[in-house]
Symmetry: none
Subunit: 209 residues, 4 copies
């Protein structure tokens, strides 16, 4: 029964080490930006020697890439599924509240990678744009289905999806940026509901605008 011991245990320890380093990198990147962060600082934050980082990630940039990889698909899992059984308002509110929760929990990661995604076309095209398009596509699809079902009036669904995503982003910006405390679950639901309400009813006075 020496069984898993040797190799497996070592592998798990290695995996844990890798995670520690990556999460240390996220914290340091979030605080100082990718360029402002030094591998020495990351090593200190991860409580390992500087050289150890390079046993797990060939270059500093690979830390960034790994953060993108890790984050990208987590987001998809959260942002794609709409519940077709629920009324529009609730289905949307549900999804938005969940997305807000994702942002809130991962705000450090997101802060860490956002500036680089902006600057680095390679990262943008490989990791960010495809995901955003899938998220937008799913949302657009949902809206289209609800129009067909008569739950929504006809409108440009692609544009609508983009605008909804913009609204969510606007809400999360200060939280991700760190200038505002992350909202609790109830607050998130309330925010999501407000957005959905506005999106559905508009703000015009009863009889038009």
């Amino acid at each position: 029964m020496v069984g898993e011991s040797g190799r497996a245990r070592r592998e798990r320890r290695g995996e844990r080490r890798r995670e520690e380093i990556l999460s240390a990198a996220a914290r340091v990147f979030a605080a100082k930006g990718y360029h402002g962060a030094t591998t020495r600082e990351i090593a200190e934050a991860a409580d390992v020697a500087e050289g150890t980082i390079f046993n797990y990630f060939p270059t500093k940039r690979d830390l960034l890439v790994a953060l993108f990889e890790r984050g990208a698909d987590r987001m998809l899992a959260v942002a794609l599924q709409y519940d077709d059984a629920l009324p529009v308002a609730e289905a949307l509110t549900d999804r938005l509240a969940t997305v807000l929760g994702f942002y809130a929990r991962n705000r450090v990661y997101i802060r860490a990678i956002a500036a680089e995604a902006w600057t680095d076309p390679q990262l943008l095209e490989t990791y960010v744009l495809p995901r955003l398009q899938r998220v937008a596509g799913a949302l657009s699809e949902f809206l289209r289905a609800r129009i067909s079902a008569g739950h929504l009036r006809p409108f440009d669904c692609d544009l609508g999806a983009r605008l909804l995503m913009g609204m969510v982003a606007a809400l999360m910006l200060p939280i991700v940026r760190g200038t505002q405390e992350p909202p609790g679950v109830a607050e998130r639901r309330r925010l999501a509901a407000s957005v959905v309400d506005l999106f559905l009813r508009g703000v015009a006075a009863s009889a038009g605008g």
Copy 2:
């Protein structure tokens, strides 16, 4: 009696040179990010010697700061004035179309500074946040006034302003980022109108959700 002899001419040339360098910096920052850009590249882009840059800007960072300063107040001029004489829809559409135009024309500058505004708290707090707050405040004020006038139903105007700004940002993001061509004036007006329409009427079917 040569007219504006020496001094004045030289000063104007200096001013022009300063502008050339600054605009070269904007282009290089936009392309490679602040950290990715070297002073040598900027000098090449401006077609001057590396040292010349430092005759006009004490440090590389001052190039960035100058870009922020130049951009910040231009934006305010554009985003603050709402026409109280027009109907809500038109007043908003007007403003939004103008803002979209500003983004489109200044997309290179904005691309250049955005990543650093995200990363650098000093720049964020000095240049970006105050302006965003004033823009949001003016919009919020406008909405509040229109509620009082009975043109809009009562709702949380601060939130509404934020969401509107988020929608505009969502529209401009790909253009500023350079992944999409800037829209012409007609297209901008159409986009603005769509946003305003959605904002005012909502997307719900008939008169409910």
Copy 3:
């Protein structure tokens, strides 16, 4: 059980490396002056990479400061103790010969730092003046005691101390500067004796002027 495993050995090597760099710096400073010396030259003289210097000294100036620190207290140890049991002439000769020896052995260091001490008020005030004052004070004290004991006629001891130090400096200047070979131990003793003889007896003919 390899004894003083890893850590200790590495620390000692680091200490040695530090010394190598510092002594290389002293040689280059002595040859070209602080400003004339480049970190590249120092690195070459120490046979390390340029960056290695900065693992041991945060800035080039810290090399200079370290040289001052190292030299300053060594000098005090040598210049302060007078033997009260000996006759004046011998006590003084002893001390002077020892000081000459110190200068001769440390001439490279002294040459390295002298110009900067002259130029840099911070270094002068922190390292040089306090030590010179202590040396002068001790010498002055010694003279005063010997006057009380009747071994010397009454005179201004502070002035006398200063003049004695000037004489010693005058002797060592060409040696420190490198335009003259350093004297051996016998020669140093002879020089010291000559200075003391002149200082005690004067040069006037017979018993007057």
Copy 4:
């Protein structure tokens, strides 16, 4: 009678300009050292444009050389002539007091060039050493003559001359360095007399030491 006007006046004006620049350079070198001084600072201190300096001195270093040249021979004029008609004590005191006066008046120049003379072998060998040797030689000669005349007991005159010069240097160091106020004429005479007194009589108690 347009006489001297043209060329001569211009030449005199040029000469004056040259002097202004040189004296500005001396002040700035004295304050910051040769390397610490920039041509821009010198230009400001001389109230001319930076380029103007180079109309008078081909390189920055030539400013330094000019300072050496100007100073060197002035010193010789002062330090060489001994009055053979006076008693030893008075002849020496006279000379020393005059030299002290020279140091005091020219302390800024001397401070400016001292560090560089120390560092730069070329300057040292061309300007400083030859002059020092001539000064020492003259002093030595004077002493030798007075020994022959029976005014002084026989001793090593070269050594004696060097020691005397060391004593004078020791007195002037703090004044040249700027840490002590320059002495007035009376004080200088008193100091010179003290030095000479000590040099002639020594400090031993009446009957030996």
